[in-house]
Assembly symmetry: C2
């Protein structure tokens, strides 16, 4: 039995998310179909709990300062296939099937621009 | 020409990262081979610039409070294949070929545990 709290968190099997001072943890969402990163957002404990319990991704909206069921308005919900947590339990990876574009701009993924030394360029793949 | 600064950032082709109050932007790294999320870390402007210029992922280590070339000690560098930025330019997606395990625990990915309602379970895929 390892009693070092940091080691327990890093290698144990107890869910113990390390929320930031704002009570949030970063969550990255990828598309189960092709592995593309769709979006990055934040969860508080309630959002993570609802995501685990309902199988639909919930976040904390920092701009609106409230719980946010992704797709609550657009219908573009994220059906969760798998949830992972990283070594130090301060980041969540959601593998999901999106019901529509994940980005509020209408793009499939929020990451629709490539960074190059010369600036950004649109990516359509 | 759209003169709304937020719109320009979201749809334009000028790199204008929205660093947090700590001068950092979140960066998620996926494996170019299979789309798996390998790790999540943070970059300051210097780390992002070096990543763009050298093709090797650099971050800002919050624990050591210094620039961090991933793999500088272990040799497990991340060779960058593509860099993306999200709509509001506050997150970076690095698509990379890892030279070895990305996680300091020796795991291929930091996200090696599944979150379930009953706790965590190890994932080997």
């Amino acid at each position: 039995m390892n009693s070092n709290p940091s080691k327990v968190r890093e290698t144990g099997l107890i869910l113990d998310p390390k929320y930031g001072p704002d009570g949030l943890i970063t969550a990255v969402v990828t598309d189960a179909a092709d592995g593309k990163v769709l979006m990055l957002a934040h969860m508080n404990a309630e959002a993570l709990g609802l995501t685990i319990d309902t199988g639909v991704a919930h976040f904390w909206s920092r701009s609106r300062n409230r719980l946010w069921k992704k797709g609550e308005t657009s219908g573009h919900i994220l059906s969760v296939e798998d949830i992972r947590i990283d070594c130090d339990q301060d980041a969540i990876w959601i593998i999901a099937r999106p019901a529509g574009p994940a980005c509020h701009t209408g793009e499939v993924s929020c990451f629709y621009r490539r960074v190059t030394a010369a600036g950004l360029e649109r990516v359509d793949d």
